[in-house]
Symmetry: C2
Subunit: 476 residues, 2 copies
């Protein structure tokens, strides 16, 4: 649970030592705190030809209350910002006087239709990247390639992935880089997602590609408005959220974050963890349900317990690992991991959906893993179950669209937990450092990502997998 190297190299003496010996110096990541402003500082805006997203960007800049500066590639920004009543200025390169420390770089690439038009991306990041401060944010905006009218446009939009991921690897200093593809007609749905990627809430999410679709319904399940303005402080007020495996660790962190955003949390965990579950739920005025989710009767029991008031958010966090090479793995160990991590999730969802307990406009979030994406030595059972979770969200998303229900997965990388604390030192250090942020994530990083997907403003995001891995090298 304690990255002592990170702490050491960020102490005055350790920093000096690291500098002398050329050791890597992971940044202490800035994370969200309710008692600190979430947004601040200067945001530089860049754009390619005919950008389509400057209007929603101006709304966002106004909403989060930051000051923008326009790079020369975004000539349209200044007049537009003025129309929106925003203070704005021109970006001045760092070498002309004292460098402006930027908090974020946002590039609107939505109008790029050909690979020959990618030059402004270079110009913008060439000019601005050095001025981006510690734990800064890079967001590139484009159009979903698969929805583009021509192969040339599809190709140019798809190229943005290579750029964004390279920027994430170059930037260091706690900076994240993410790519958001906004479908035509989904412009009104960008704010929740851009807020997340610009916020310290996304401290450990980098190198990700997210699509915001125009399809699906903006149904709200309660008094909240289905489209902005949301209550950004308590976006989940009035919503009921089920979290499995909520007694401890990542599950408890998810429960805490959802409760902090206003949800009433119903925590589920196995009967043997009842005391810890009740202690966790008591702190956040939640409800405890001590059920073994893998038991045959569990889906009906959970449905019965929720039937009265229904539920808006279901987070399938409960999971186990039982690592062995397959030659040494018994059938029972294989089966229990598949059953708890995957099949139980299917059975519970199906029971809640069949009985109409999960309300229209609801959210389902499964916890996958980078092992489920890339496979892992000694985890044939775990990786199979976590790859299945990805199949689950991909397969259910189209079926739930008409009801305004979204279903997505998060895929954690190396997260500092009791489990990772027990790993052998060298494996633990490799897992921790082999990512663009050179450190492990915290349970709260997973929880914040889930809270973003659970947000009423995330209606355009479904069937997707978001890694919470600091842009881990471990891939597919």
């Amino acid at each position: 649970m304690n990255d002592s190297y990170l702490n050491f190299v960020n102490s005055p003496f350790g920093a000096r030592l690291a500098r002398s010996f050329g050791l890597p110096k992971p940044e202490v990541l800035r994370r969200y705190r309710a008692d600190e402003p979430e947004f601040g500082g200067l945001v530089a805006i860049g754009a390619g030809r005919e950008p389509h997203l400057l209007d929603p960007l101006a709304d966002l800049v106004a909403s989060i209350g930051v000051t923008s500066v326009a790079h020369e590639s975004a000539g349209l920004w200044m007049p537009l910002a003025h129309r929106h009543g925003l203070m704005t200025g021109r970006f001045e390169p760092a070498d002309s006087g004292s460098p402006a420390r930027l908090a974020a770089l946002i590039f609107d690439a939505s109008g790029i239709e050909d690979s020959s038009q990618l030059g402004p991306l270079h110009a913008f990041f060439h000019d601005t990247l050095r001025s981006l401060g510690q734990c800064g944010r890079i967001v590139v905006l484009g159009r979903p390639p698969e929805g583009c009218a021509s192969p040339r446009q599809w190709t140019a939009q798809r190229a943005l992935e290579g750029l964004t991921r390279s920027l994430g690897k170059e930037a260091r200093r706690g900076i994240t880089a993410n790519l958001v593809y906004v479908e035509q007609g989904a412009e009104h749905r960008v704010e929740a997602t851009l807020r997340f990627f610009l916020s310290p809430r996304s401290a450990y999410v980098s190198g990700q590609v997210v699509r915001i679709a125009a399809s699906g319904s903006d149904i709200a399940t309660d008094g909240n408005s289905p489209v902005p303005p949301f209550d950004w402080k308590q976006p989940l007020a009035g919503r009921r959220a089920v979290v499995t495996g909520a007694a401890r660790g990542i599950g408890a962190s998810i429960a805490n974050v959802l409760a902090a955003e206003g949800a009433h949390v119903i925590g589920i965990d196995i009967p043997s963890a009842r005391d810890a579950l009740e202690a966790t739920m008591r702190q956040l005025n939640g409800t405890s349900l001590a059920f073994d989710i893998a038991a045959p009767e569990a889906p009906a029991q959970i449905a019965a317990a929720l039937d009265d008031q229904g539920v808006d958010i279901v987070v399938h966090n409960a999971g186990i690992t039982k690592d062995k090479t397959i030659a040494k793995m018994t059938g029972a160990i294989w089966q229990s991991v598949i059953d708890i991590n995957l099949s139980a999730q299917e059975r519970i969802d199906d029971a809640l959906l069949a009985a109409g307990i999960l309300r229209d406009g609801g959210r389902i979030i499964g916890v996958s893993s980078i092992s489920g994406i890339a496979g892992n030595l000694g985890q044939t059972n775990y990786a199979t179950s976590k790859a299945g979770v990805i199949g689950r969200v991909q397969s259910m998303a189209p079926l739930l669209r008409a009801r305004g229900i979204t279903i997505n997965a998060v895929a954690p990388g190396f997260i500092e937990t009791q489990m990772t604390a027990r790993m052998p030192l060298t494996i633990r250090e490799a897992g921790r450092r082999m990512n663009s942020l050179a450190q492990g994530g915290l349970p709260v990083d997973v929880a914040q990502t889930i809270a973003w997907l659970a947000h009423p403003g995330s209606a355009g995001i479904s069937g997707q997998v978001v890694r919470v891995c600091g842009q881990s090298l471990i891939g597919a």
Copy 2:
């Protein structure tokens, strides 16, 4: 070009030393040689419930002339194999007497419809993996998840990715593991792909997922049969193949392999490489075209040179790297990499397609890179261009389907070339060892993968990206 560590630990003294010190011992990979049998040894067959692909598998086993043994999960195999006139037996676990050394493990998971039915996969690989010999092959067969009738089936099929990739990481000893999703109705198209994955030709391809579609046309451009039996020794006989960047390195290797399979190769390279290009082409009775593909007039020149006889296969191999962090990268360097690696490819394809020079049933193969998938430090330009190549094949595939033309990309990982030989030692060693085979690939590994995609039997594969990376950790 020379992995001296690999050579050393495979010498008698080096192997002893590696054993004493617990050093990693990468396997010397078995590669295809025209003077050695391509297939041999025992193949173990396993299956889940209601397997749909045993008939084409029996055809394959007969065609490549190997002996099969049936695992107890594949009860249907023995009678079916007998009907196909095959010698076959039962798989005996290694611990009951002297272990049979298996050459390949093939599991037909196509009938699995629910996550609760995944158990036979565990049983099969649990029992057989230890009996698989050096440079053995693992192939898992399934149905494309996105085409499954129910979410449960989709989920279970998608779960196979996590299993296959974990097996690739566990197996070591030069063993590869790949997953082939066969669409219903595409059963007649499996042979070319299964031959590739079972052959030493795929020595450095592991952890990959390939889909074989039933759609698209099996049009042949010449006297070859559009469906099996193909001439497996000279599958490209009578075909004309253009290879850009063919003078040296990977391009020359591609030209050699395509020529060895019977194609007439037209090599293109820049005028300054004319001598090397002509020397390479002379050896394989090919044709040299000294053009700068990035020149504005190049598409028309290439089209004119090919107009007479047309072309069947286009391999876009030419590419450059000009690495710099983006803050230090000039606009000219950015632009030249995007233009040569991506835009030129678009212009040439479009010219060949507009003039009808690329014939029906043709093949286009672009060379991408794992940098284009995962991004890379110092390669914003290169990664952008190589991500664009992926967009190119994804966007063009549906448009070319009716003409029977396929378009795919290969994404090399660390390949031993003059370029990688010039890398600093630590970066080179990290790139070489950070994959399941603990070594770099050779140019011929890329070339063989391209030859498989160019094969007349690969009609069902289009719009896909196949990594040639030894299951590199470097992912997305």
